[in-house]
Symmetry: C2
Subunit: 320 residues, 2 copies
């Protein structure tokens, strides 16, 4: 089985590749990205392919013979809001180019698309499900919603066998802050653990809908392995997550890492971030996803402990 | 005031132009189409512009200085289903090109977009409103839903001042059958009145959501004149319509034109048409549209009588 992961330079793509390679049925994993790639593990089955998916030839080369395509490549929310044209180009046009390449293979590959809770916005019902109308309040959300429609129609036409996953905000992400409006969500946990201050742009009572990187990766793979008849013709799935307030996140951090660490979170309003993040829902009915076998994190403490143990493992690997 | 109408060779575009020109505040109406145009009336303020909106230069020339753009140009449902690539090109890419041209004017013109009930599909609630998630079951519906998201985001970014109208099936259309899956809806009234047989591809109990051409044109103009503060930030509107069954339509025809005329409707299943048309909802809650002042036809008899008097007027005009 040959698997393609776009956005392969990103942390989720790398992590997904590593987990996929634990499966001996996987013959090849192609990590593709427009940026320079580093192999996430030493494995002969891993191929790095630096390519701009906007180029039809490059897209065709990437998906050639692929059984499964995980399309994770995207411009994040803050950047798509700041540069509308770049967002359209990367988030919409490159997705369409990849879908066209997948269609041209003629064998209807599985196409797992990483969408986002950012497709939703006010007016919101008390609890969001798959029957809730999307009202994106960011260009990122609009672009993701457009691609959801594309993947659904390409699936209906049997050009690809699509599965659209609406991600909760992924927390705790490793690394450094990025241009996502939700970057602070990981920042207020990660930076204090690293001995640094972190500014929280929303209030203590602000509710978030979160998933650990581990659960998201597990759910991406689960989505790819589901049979078409298990999914039926409705291919858009709100992934499970947990609802927590910023205050509860900081309380978790204090429980696990102590008062001093938790005190490194300071509050500082940022209207630009608030405008985007406060339009996202925090309460979902994910009955359908759970029935389909998708995973949910137990609680927020678990997300922090996952992050701490991931970082330890990473450090041990880097030792000579 | 300068007004642009795309799809200006179509019957709705021509009719809209005629009604707009009754208003002395309208300085210019540009009828644009990729097909050859005929002037719907003799008026110095009318400009015919044959242009392919996919060409950015042509799109820019069409919207140059426009205060209002009515974007009606589209490939109809049956054709978009038969030729996916042409549907994407005309229904999505040309809309985007026009939106980009409107954005480039720098003065945020009003942009009235003709969407359709075809964005909806099963699973459907008993009554559809603006909070109902779209589930297009045709490429036409998917393409319309994509453009709704584009117009909404271009509006949020203040690139255009958008208004999206989801049309009911327009009935009775004059002329000849076209490639729309809903072509029969006008056909089963129009053809019998012209002394011809008409084949109905769906059953007698099939429910439809209809609007007369007159109401749609009135509503297009109403949408353009509404102030941004009257609309608020939600720019997608399900237009009012009436719910009727095919059986009720034929009963109306018999009431108005007699038994012999009504007997010219015959039934003949067409699965291709059914697959599309039967996915559309027939019951809407249009409280919001009515509150905003949009119009609704009184009943189906009225739609037939409208059509008969329109045809009479047209014939009288054509007499030497």
């Amino acid at each position: 089985m040959k698997i393609v992961i776009t956005g392969g330079a990103g942390f989720l793509g790398r992590r997904l590749a590593k987990v996929l390679l634990e499966d001996s049925d996987v013959a090849q994993v192609i990590l593709s990205d427009v940026s320079q790639l580093r192999a996430p593990s030493h494995d002969e089955r891993l191929v790095l392919s630096q390519a701009n998916l906007l180029d039809p030839g490059a897209a065709a080369a990437v998906v050639d013979g692929a059984d499964v395509v995980f399309h994770l490549a995207a411009i994040v929310s803050g950047q798509a809001e700041a540069d509308f044209d770049m967002g359209m180009s990367v988030n919409v046009d490159a997705t369409r180019s990849l879908l066209e390449a997948a269609r041209a293979t003629g064998h209807c590959p599985r196409f797992v698309y990483a969408s986002s809770l950012a497709v939703f916005g006010p007016p919101l019902p008390a609890v969001v499900d798959e029957q809730t109308a999307v009202h994106p309040q960011s260009s990122y959300g609009a672009q993701k919603a457009i691609c959801e429609l594309l993947v659904a129609d390409y699936t209906r036409k049997a050009f690809v066998d699509g599965r659209v996953l609406r991600f909760p905000t992924v927390c705790v992400r490793p690394g450094t802050p990025n241009a996502a409006a939700s970057s602070f969500v990981s920042g207020i946990i990660r930076e204090p653990l690293h001995g640094e201050k972190a500014v929280c742009p929303v209030g203590r009572d602000h509710k978030l809908w979160l998933s650990s990187p581990a659960a998201v990766v597990e759910n991406l793979i689960h989505a790819a392995w589901l049979r078409p008849d298990e999914l039926g013709f409705e291919r858009i799935i709100n992934l499970p997550g947990i609802t927590v307030t910023v205050g509860e996140m900081i309380a978790s951090l204090e429980r696990i890492a102590g008062k001093e660490v938790a005190s490194r979170v300071v509050f500082g309003e940022d209207l630009k971030v608030q405008r985007i993040v406060c339009s996202w829902p925090s309460s979902f009915d994910v009955t359908r996803a759970l029935r389909l076998g998708f995973s949910r994190d137990p609680d927020f403490d678990d997300l922090i402990m996952d992050f701490i143990s991931d970082e330890k493992a990473e450090k041990n690997l880097k030792r000579p």
